[in-house]
């Protein structure tokens, strides 16, 4: 499992566009927002948390369709599934690699981009925390979507239609944590709920994703 994780990471880094592409996309989304809503710093500060979260979700979506598709095409996915490693483990390793190459850098870059959007400094801390807690859920939900669409040619668009509605609860609680953090009000149960969603997703979705993978490889 560790070896698989290492292999996926190495592939992502050496093929280029693993770390870089998602981050660049995130940056561009954030840069586009002021052109859309105007350069009023007060307005930007109010929407900053939501914009960063939406941008992070879109950036996560970007590399999802390659999660299983590349290995499916050259046949190595079948070898992996027939290996002694349980399919759930493969899904987890793939999702972890996806998180390390997108979710983690996105979380760390968010406060820097937050400056562009006039995110208050104490809000930046909560922004990072909410993204760190929430992005694993995004990766594993995305892994389920990617496993569903692995056999479909040009499944990228379908993947986004399937995955984005499932991102809604994570987005709601994640953006709520970040917004309340930046406004300095009490967090309430939002952070707890965000943690719960992440933990449940990481705990349960690998089973559904591996079931789906096995159906697709049948």
């Amino acid at each position: 499992m560790i070896a698989l994780l290492r292999r996926d990471l190495r592939l992502a880094i050496r093929a280029g566009g693993g770390f870089g592409l998602a981050l660049a996309f995130f940056l561009i989304v954030v840069v586009l927002v002021p052109f859309g809503v105007g350069a009023d710093m007060a307005v930007l500060g109010r929407v900053a948390a939501g914009v960063l979260w939406t941008g992070a979700i879109l950036a996560c979506l970007l590399s999802l369709d390659r999660m299983f598709a590349l290995d499916f095409e050259d046949g190595s996915l079948e070898l992996l599934v027939t290996s002694p490693l349980p399919t759930e483990g493969i899904v987890l390793a793939k999702a972890a690699a996806h998180w390390i190459t997108t979710g983690l850098p996105l979380s760390l870059a968010a406060p820097v981009l937050g400056i562009l959007l006039n995110l208050p400094p104490h809000g930046a801390v909560w922004m990072v925390i909410s993204l760190l807690v929430g992005t694993p859920a995004l990766s594993i939900i995305g892994a389920f979507g990617a496993a569903l669409t692995v056999g479909i040619k040009r499944g990228g668009l379908l993947l986004s239609i399937l995955v984005l509605p499932m991102y809604v609860p994570t987005l709601i609680f994640g953006a709520e944590v970040a917004r309340r953090g930046s406004e300095g009000v009490a967090l309430g149960s939002s952070l707890v709920m965000l943690c719960a969603i992440s933990l449940l997703a990481v705990g349960l979705l690998p089973f559904a994703a591996s079931k789906v993978l096995r159906i697709n490889l049948k």
């Binding site: 569903l148 669409t149 056999g151 399937l162 509605p165 709520e176 149960s189 159906i215 697709n216």
Partner: protein
């Protein structure tokens, strides 16, 4: 003799062909009685005026939109556990019907919302979760149409339906947390047995609800028959060409 025998495609075709005219007829009668009674023979509400009459379309459509998804969930489970093809096809057949009910509920709600709330749309929990339900329907149908192999498609959409149900439910409670509601609470709470709708409005509403339920049943049966026949035709063609 078990109930599962009726899931045999041939038997299913036989008994549904017998039952279908009755179900469709009852649905037509109930829907027309409910709607005509509701639209023309009930008094105007003292506050909402005649706009209240949209309830006879809105509430049954919303009810069936949710129940259609539930039915798909049950059918998906049956497919995954017992591998009855009719069950998978019934789930496939129910999705477009459910999506139309969802749209009807959303649109009638918007039409009613303009004079009453002053806006076609508000980001209210009920409205939002219905919109999300609509998105889940879209994804489900898109997945069905994207996969060529019928059994794989049935398997994948069944799992999607189950996982999607969890997320749809989660979204329902998440949006509750996210924004306070404008939409009124339910008028017919089943649990407490108290209702806030007077009998004059309630009786036609109930008839309309029953009618919509029967209409859903009739449409699903008909569409499942079509799916079975379509699959049979495809099998015949495959046999001819080889």
């Amino acid at each position: 003799m078990s109930i599962w025998e009726y899931a045999n495609p041939l038997k299913f075709l036989n008994w549904t062909t017998k039952v279908l005219p009755w179900v469709a007829g009852c649905a037509a009668v109930c829907v027309s009685v409910g709607l005509i009674w509701g639209f023309f023979f009930t008094p105007d509400d003292y506050r909402q005026g005649s706009t209240v009459k949209i309830i006879y379309l809105h509430v049954p459509a919303a009810l069936m939109a949710i129940n259609a998804w539930l039915m798909m969930l049950v059918a998906s489970l049956i497919w995954l556990v017992r591998r009855h093809h009719v069950s998978a096809l019934a789930a496939k057949a129910a999705a477009p019907v459910g999506v139309v009910f969802t749209l009807v509920a959303l649109f009638t709600g918007a039409i009613w919302g303009k004079p009453m709330w002053g806006a076609y749309w508000a980001w209210d929990p009920r409205l939002t979760s219905f919109l999300i339900l609509f998105l889940f329907y879209l994804g489900y149908m898109a997945l069905w149409s994207a996969i060529e192999d019928a059994d794989t498609a049935a398997d994948l959409t069944s799992v999607l339906c189950m996982v999607g149900s969890v997320f749809a439910l989660l979204s329902r409670y998440a949006v509750n947390f996210w924004n306070q509601g404008l939409h009124q609470g339910t008028s017919v709470p089943v649990a407490t047995g108290e209702r806030t709708v007077a009998d004059v409005f309630f009786v036609p509403l109930l008839i309309s609800m029953v009618g919509f339920g029967l209409m859903f049943l009739a449409l699903v049966l008909l569409r499942t028959q079509t799916e079975i026949r379509k699959r049979r035709a495809a099998a015949l063609i495959a046999r001819e060409t080889t």
